[in-house]
Structure formats: structure tokens, C-alpha cells
Symmetry: D2
Subunit: 322 residues, 4 copies
């Protein structure tokens, strides 16, 4: 195996808070190890276009807390083509890159799997997505920040909901995964939580909401991937009780931004340093994650799997709101 002297890094797919912390972890560990680093701008797009830039440790030290990503990110249609991937390969060769670190979600790792067919450089992945929908890590980078943003906003909505004794249906992100909904729903004392993974007894919810005690708010957290969705749920509640005072709020993209939480800053730094170290130890085509509070490495083809809501959470859902 060739000695690794030059690592290139990119962020890809949806951005998430903690990506800059991961970059900071990478540059500091590389600095300690005497490794040269290059950043690739805008994910696979920059790889195809040869958009490499030096990474500045001092700049990253000052933005370790910030949401977004210094390297920008993008989704790339061109990388889905062989031609795109070949141009990417040429750029890596031209720049004498010895290894690649990618921070992103399942789409990113699928891209690396496809790329590995023509490129035998070692690839290392870091799970960066707010959805917490990857196997191989208990927590993805950005999930904790997104939940914190969600609960802070839901706390605010509770104020006004209580003032009016109102029903609120609040939609949170998470794609097909109910993790953000469960964590933000439990953490805000929601009366019901609707997630894709759990066939909820909707009739029961409707009766609870439609006939609820008018002296209190009634908060329902709806995962964006839920089969029903906030609008249909609202319509059904209105059918049961047309007089209810009901509002829908979709928290939206605020959940993707903002300063990273303490947890995500630490997670990013740990995973960034671990990714460099794993490459130096000769590992390739694995994603660095945290399993059972310890660093672990999982092959790409096993991270792109369904992340089920575990039994403990299912049990909590039954107690707290479903």
C-alpha cells in the first residue's frame, strides 16, 4: 500500500451542523501526523471540476461551532455517470491525492461505492446528516443539533398554544426516519408523536385531540415521513370536531442550520480525527461512527441500511404519546 501523504476531503448531500467540527478534527489530526490536506468544494461536483483548495487550520479553529460547511456541498447528477466519475479520478490523480474522506449521508456513501469500481484509493466516510438514518453509528453528525433546534422552537410554540388552549400539529424533519420526531416529541412533553416506523392508532389520537380538555394545549409532533402528514391529520381532527382551534407549523430548514450543539461538535472532532487515523492505519471503504459510545468502522455497503427505531424507544412511544 502506498504511504498516505495527501488526503482530500469533501462534504456532500444535505449539510448538517457539525460538518465544520469534523473538518477541524481532520485538519488537526493531519497536522499532528504531517499529512497534507486539500478540501474539495461542493461535494462530487468539485471533484469532477477539480475544485481543490488548501484547508486552513486556523480558519477552521474559529468556525468549529458554525453550521453549514466551509467546503460547501451539493448534490451531483454528473457523478451518477461513468464519465463524471472518470473525470473525478483524473483530478485526484493529477493532484496526487492518496486518500479521500467524505462527509455525508447514504447518497454520499453509495457514490463512493460506485466510485470504488474505478478508483482504488482508500475512501473513508463520516456520517453527516440530521436524519440519524444510517446504520454503523448511534448518532449521525447534525442530529443532536437538529433536535435541539426543534425543541427550542417547539418550546416557543407551546407558549402560544397554552395561551389559547390550542391544538398544534408541528412537522419536523427526518425523511423516512422518526428519530427527530421521537426525540423532539418526548423532550417537549408532546401529547402525541406520529412517525413513519410505527403504525399509530390514529383513531385514538383523533378522539384524544378532538375531545381534548379545552384548558390546555394539545401538541402533536409529526415526522415529515409519516404516512398521514400534518394536513391530513388536521383534516381528520376537524371532521371529528369542527370547532377545535388548530394550527399547523412546519419547522422546515431551520433544523439544518445554526451553531452545532456541544454533542455534535465533539462528535465531529472525534470522527474527523478517527477518520484520518483509520486511513493511516490502512483502513479503507468504511464509515467512522460511534457505536456504544466507542469509535467503530463499518463498511459502506452495510451503513446504507434501514435504521430501525429500537424496542426501548418503541416502548417509550407507547407511554408518552401515540
Amino acid at each position: 500500500m502506498k504511504t498516505i501523504e495527501h488526503i482530500a476531503i469533501f462534504t456532500s448531500g444535505g449539510d448538517s451542523p457539525g460538518m465544520n467540527a469534523a473538518l477541524y478534527g481532520i485538519v488537526k489530526k493531519a497536522e499532528q501526523s504531517g499529512i497534507r490536506l486539500s478540501g474539495i468544494r461542493k461535494g462530487y461536483e468539485g471533484l469532477i471540476d477539480g475544485d481543490l483548495v488548501p484547508l486552513d487550520a486556523h480558519k477552521l479553529q474559529k468556525m468549529v461551532h458554525r453550521g453549514g460547511t466551509l467546503l460547501k456541498t451539493a448534490r451531483s447528477k454528473r457523478f451518477l455517470t461513468l464519465e463524471g466519475r472518470q473525470r473525478a479520478l483524473e483530478n485526484l490523480q493529477k493532484n496526487e491525492v492518496d486518500a479521500l474522506i467524505a462527509i455525508g449521508g447514504d447518497g454520499t456513501f453509495k457514490g463512493l461505492l460506485a466510485f470504488s469500481e474505478i478508483c482504488d484509493l482508500p475512501f473513508l466516510g463520516i456520517p453527516g446528516t440530521i436524519d440519524n438514518d444510517l446504520a454503523g453509528t448511534d448518532f449521525t453528525l447534525g442530529f443532536d443539533s437538529a433536535v435541539n433546534t426543534a425543541i427550542e422552537n417547539i418550546d416557543k410554540i407551546r407558549d402560544t398554544a397554552e395561551a389559547h388552549n390550542r391544538i398544534f400539529l408541528i412537522e419536523v424533519m427526518g425523511r423516512d426516519c422518526g428519530y427527530i420526531a421521537i426525540h423532539s416529541g418526548l423532550g417537549t412533553g408532546a401529547d402525541a408523536i406520529l412517525i413513519p416506523e410505527s403504525a399509530h392508532d390514529f383513531i385514538q389520537l383523533l378522539e384524544k385531540a378532538g375531545s381534548y380538555d379545552r384548558e390546555e394545549a394539545f401538541i402533536v409532533i409529526v415526522s415529515e415521513g409519516d404516512e398521514l402528514g400534518a394536513e391530513v391529520a388536521a383534516k381528520k381532527i376537524k371532521e371529528i370536531n369542527p370547532d377545535v382551534d388548530l394550527r399547523i407549523t412546519k419547522l422546515g430548514h431551520v433544523q439544518r442550520g445554526g451553531n452545532a450543539s456541544a454533542f455534535d461538535r465533539m462528535l465531529g472532532i472525534r470522527l474527523g480525527a478517527a477518520a484520518v487515523e483509520a486511513l493511516l492505519r490502512g483502513r479503507k471503504n468504511v464509515m467512522a461512527g460511534i457505536l456504544n459510545n466507542e469509535l467503530s468502522l463499518t463498511p459502506f455497503d452495510r451503513v446504507v441500511k434501514e435504521h430501525q427505531v429500537n424496542d426501548e424507544l418503541q416502548g417509550l412511544l407507547k407511554i408518552f404519546g401515540n
Copy 2:
């Protein structure tokens, strides 16, 4: 004039951060003056139903910062009827109330004007609405908090917008008044601000957005009362340039809740104390407000007017985003 020994207070209409601070200002000033206080729950509804409760100064001292309102609030159809107002009058007489303080917006003060036809008790108003759409005060209670909530969320969205070089259309509250949009748009470095009061050169915005430099985010703040609205604006931009990466986010009811800002806590306390003092000095049927940084009292029929965006703000809009 009868000596005032017992004042009843209620909050009405949409809630806004700072209402509890105003209640705190009222109870402390009343305590100092030896006045008995009652709270009326749920606005005019509680007035009609005789839902009076004692007000606890200690409890309010500990919730001076909190959004919502201890007394709850509601909109009341029954108070629009003479019968409703007569029942309200009976309750005030039965409870030997000598004066009434109402915290709310234009609907609240219109209600007081109607009520004054059959009830000659002195009424005092406090402007509680996030929209800043009342004459007679430079700032309504809750406006500053709502703008702070808006800018904190827009700052978060900027992170993710910059990561993707994305166009974001962000809708903020304000009903027919563009104040929240102007303040939150200027304060977040938005590229354009669309408000109801200003005929904006939309073509220019479209061209700016449709052909914008892909190396940066492009943030448009849209007031909910704007003639165009976020969806139509998005559609028009897409017509000019179908390839733009564009998202819409509506901040929604989070703007109504959350802890009051420092400004609104102080404003609430000042207006609350001033309202009690004005009643004790014999004033009636006026709203306490802050004009030119000084306490002022304005008759109800003059506060329910249009609040125009002044020349200075219009000038800033031209420089910063329109």
C-alpha cells in the same frame, strides 16, 4: 369620579411575549398603591363568563420572562353582541370592579370602544401584539421578541443556504404590516425584502435572483401580508430560471412564543406600571404606549389606525434590499 380600589385585567387577541411582564408591572404598581387586582381569564370570553381570579405577584415575578400569558387569551364572538357585552358589564358590577386594563391589539381596543357605550368604567389599554401595527406607540409588546426569534431562525437558515448557494424565500409574520419583515430582513443581511406597504420592483428582484451569482446564498424575506407571497414569488423566479435551487420556509407561530426579549420585558413593565398610574390619575379610554422613548397615552379611537413605514425605513429599504 369614584376612587379606584379594584382593577381587573385581561389579555386578549393573539398572545405576544411581554404580556406576562406587563402583568408583573401592573401587580407591582398596584401593590405599591394599595389597589386590589383581579385577573380575567381568556380575554372577553372570561369577562362574559365571570372567570375572575386573584393575581399572584410572586408567581408573576417568577414568570416575568415567559412567553404566552398567565391569564390565557382568546378571540370572542360573543362580545361582538350586545348581549355578550351586557353580561360582561354585569360581571364587572357584581365583582365591584372599578377599572379595567386590557392588553391586546386593535381588535381588543375596538371591543373596548364598543363596550364603553354601555359601561362607563375607566378602561386602559396596553398594546400587546407582535405586529407593531398600532398608532400611539413606537413599539408594541412582543414585536422585538418576534423579530429576535425571526432573525435567530433566519441566521440558521443562512448557514444551510450558504452551504448550497441556495435561494431561500422566508416568510415572516406581521399581518398587513411589514415591520417584522423589514427589521428581520435588514438585520440578517437579506438580499431582498418584500413588504405590503411598498410597491416593490419585482422584475428587478426576479432578475437579481434568477441570475444570481451561484457562489452565494440569496435570501428573500417576505412579509405574510405582501401582495405577492412566497409561493408566487418562487414560481416567478423559477419561470425566469428553472434551474435555480430554491426553497421556501415559513417561520410560523414560533414568532409568537418564547421568552420575551430584554426590550419587551422592560416595555411590558413600564407600560404595566404606567397603565395603573394613569388610571389612578383619572385617565380613561386611552392606550399607554412609548412615543419618542417617553410614556404617552393615546385615545382608543386613534390607535386603531394604519401604522405606516416611515421615510427613514423606506430609504433603508431602497439601499438594502428591494
Copy 3:
């Protein structure tokens, strides 16, 4: 074993964000299981004084996010005496309490161990302390919130430190444990982190700080338990370079309060529900914790041990600031 029909709960020692979430987890799980609950006010003091109150699930649902503790807390000298413990026992018997849940730190669990000599009721513990200094759990309740409060404040200080190219020594809490310092130091890109567990090469720090590049801030995070402390460190830096522009800030008790973070809310709910369940399954004299992301139960005499900074963190410290 007697069937458990009535559980009493108290919070003890220093308060920490997440205690109310744990109470919420307890009441909801007990509600589901048909168990009667009583809250004991002010920790062991209330146990001695028989200060038992009913616990209201609705009230806790609305304050699941709030710092502090609904049940109040205290340190108790009287419980250190046999007489105090005997009065506590009498109160439990008089109130027909079948089991006891205590939320607190090592002092709390030592108290339970002493109490178990005269009282054979089953005891269950929940780790509530911001210091993360207990064995038997990867995270104590309140630690994540305290670190989030610390980093938000350190982020603010960085602004002003950068504006002046200033050295800042910032003291954070943690007693004899450097966890808060490590997490908040790494998460804010600090230039150095001083903790009790690690013999730091102070000369190196002094030279780094005393001769630092005047075009940037220089941030040192000092754990309150560090052998040196912020004042001495400052003095030594000044000896090397009397002209440095240096400030000391101690974050202080803000780290104990504030709304719980998302992580602590979830942790509190999980541990609260788990504690009730463990009691119902016949477990006693153990603390519920999270080890390797799974619920675990550890006997009291093993939680009161030193919690060492693990190898991974020691390695990170070497890279990032020591």
C-alpha cells in the same frame, strides 16, 4: 417481596438540567403501571421532615424542559446522623411508601447506602449532576446541558477576544473531573485546556500564550478542579510577558441552570422510566444509567468511584490543546 404500590421520589445535592425530565419519565411510567407516586421536597431534608406532596403528571409535562427541580433540592447535615435517618424511616413507614427513587450525585448515593443499613425498602438511583463524575453511566443528567451553556458563552467570549487579540482564561465547572472542560474546550476551538486529570506541560502553554501571535485571540479553558487554576495561570503568563492583554472569566452557576438540552431531556425520560421499571422487576440499590447507549443498572457502591478521562479523550487533548 412486597408488591410495589407506592413510590416516593426526591432530588438531592446540586440541581442539574434534566431532573424535571426524569420526574416526567417517572410519573408517566408509573401512570401506565398504576403506581401511586409521592414527591419528597428538598431532598433528604424533606424525607426527615415528612414533606411529601403528590406529583402532578400534567404539571411535569409542561415543565419537562425546565432547569432546576420541581421538588427542590438541598444538602442535608441531619441525614448524616442516625437520628435523622431514623426519622426519615418513620416518615416512609407512616406514608406507606414501598420504594424510593433518588436523583442526585455521589453524595446522594452514599446517603442511600447509609440509609440501607436501617431501611430495607428498595432504592433506585438516577445520576443527576452536571459533573459527569460517576461510574455506571456514560453521561450524567445535566452534563450535556452544562456543556452547551458553557460553549454558548465561550463562543460569545471568542467574539470579544478576537476583536482585541486577547488572551482569555475561562474557568468552567466540573469539580475534580475535567469532562466539562474537555468537551467545552474542544467544542470551541480553544488553544489550551487545563484539567485535573492530566499533568499538563504548563511551560509549553506559557510560552505559547506569552509569545502568541497578536493577530488572534488565545483561549484557555481551565477546569475548576485544575491544580493550577485560572489566577495562577494568568500570573505565570504575565511573568513571561507582562504586556499581554489578558482577561479571566469564570462562567459560574449559569452552567447549572437553563432549559435542559435535547440530550438531557431524553436521558432524563429514559432513566426515569427505567428506574420505575427496574423497581417493578424487583431490582434494588442500583443506579440506572446509560452504558454503551443501553440502559444499565449499577450497584450504588460501584458508582461512587473515580470516572477517568479515557484514552481516546487523552489522545484528543494532545492533539487539540495541552
Copy 4:
């Protein structure tokens, strides 16, 4: 008068949130007016050293919210000497600067007064200090942000104070001016507020604190400029009642940093634009401020005066805590 084609700007003295917003206001207004701008780094130090840099409108647009100052700041002993001021003059001449805008506090404006003796360029000032201790403006830039930071931290401390029924003495900034203390004390429901401007009946406070109802927290806000100070106050309370559970916390430099509040962002933009406009209209040696919610210009020699706590605030202090 020479036409103004080139304006130089610097920030000086203690930094405050909103300074970047003011810079943003200046660059946008100058852009509209076709004026060339230069930034001077590190206040008067950079003026003496000729450290001029171009100002980037795009960069400022993205950091309009951020605390600190893009241009850095410093205190300068050299500018107190005639030699220093002469070198500053030479740099302005060499760079063909036609006018100067300074953002800072009273020390900054005294510097401009001294400088005007040898330099007849027009100077314009913007009040940037968290202390709100200048005449000529109702609010200085950074004051509202500092109060918001203070109240958020005091709210957190209240959580833990309530949990223990503790007395807390919390010191806030403000130099010789009690504004931050008054606003943050009233806004957090403090039990007492100690400020330099008001001879407080300390005995009364001591009795109140020393014998306070143990079922609640007792919060005292102490201005850093108060004659007594937190330590002495604590000592005196302990003399009356040695058993009180009492803590002191000094909020410190966090009050200087953090993102600017909505109010300060708007204030900065307004004052920045107004400063450029005033220069273009031929005004000189005045500070732009907000008096009675309107832009106003006040000669330097009149802003450097004592800013008294007005009668309304004195009245509130009597009601709410003294």
C-alpha cells in the same frame, strides 16, 4: 468644502455587538452614493500605523449579525501623544482620505476632539459601547445585546437558585452606569437592584435578604460600578444571618460578545447609513444617535457627559427592587 470621495472607518475602545452591523450600514450607503471606503484596523493604533484595508460589502453582509468587529479594536496610548496623532494625520493624507467615521465610546470621541486640533477632516462618530453611558443617544450600540445576554444568563441562574431557595448576588457590567443592571434586574424579576446612581437603602436590603422566606430564591443584581459591590454586600448579609445559602456570580465578558440582538442590528444599520449621509451633507464632528426614536447628531463635546438614570426609571426602581 472638499467633496467627499473617500471615507475611512475604524472601531475603537471596547467592542460591542452591533459594530459589524454599523459597518454594514456604512458600506451599503457608501456603495449607493459611489463613495470609496477604507477600513482602519485596530482603532487608533491602525491609524498611526497606516493599517488600512478595503472593506468588502459581501463579507459584511454575511456577518451583519456577529459580535466583535471585523476591523478589530484596541486602546491606544500612542494616540494620546501629539507625535502619534501627527503620524495618524500623515497616513490619512497619504491615503487621500476625505472623512473619518469612528465607532466607539467616550474615549474614542475624546480622541477625535484632540485630533481635530491638528486635522480638519470631517469626523463622524457612532456610539458603540454596551454601557449606554453617552449623551446624545437613547441607546448605544451593544447595550440591548448585552442586556439580552445578561437576562438569559440570569434566567438560568434563577433555575438553580429556586431549586435551592438560595440568595444570589449577580454582578453585571456597565462601568459607572447602572443601565444594564436596571434593565436586566427588572427584566428578570430580581428582588433588589444595586446601581451606582442611586443611594440605596442597604439596611433594608440586608434585612430583606437576611431574613428572607426560605421557600424562594432571592436574586440581587449588582452593577459593577456600585459603591458596595457584590462581595461586600454578601459579607454584610452574612453578618446579619450567617446561615443564609448565598452565592456570587459575575457574568463578565460574555456580556460583550455574541450575536447582536435584533435591536442592535437595526440600530447599527441605521446609524451607519446616517453617518455616511451626514458626512455627505457636510456635517462634521458630531455623533449620530437615536433620540426619541429619531436620528440625531450631537457635537462630540456634548456626548461625553454623564448619562443620568431618568425619573421614570428611578420610579420603577423604587417599585421593583431597591
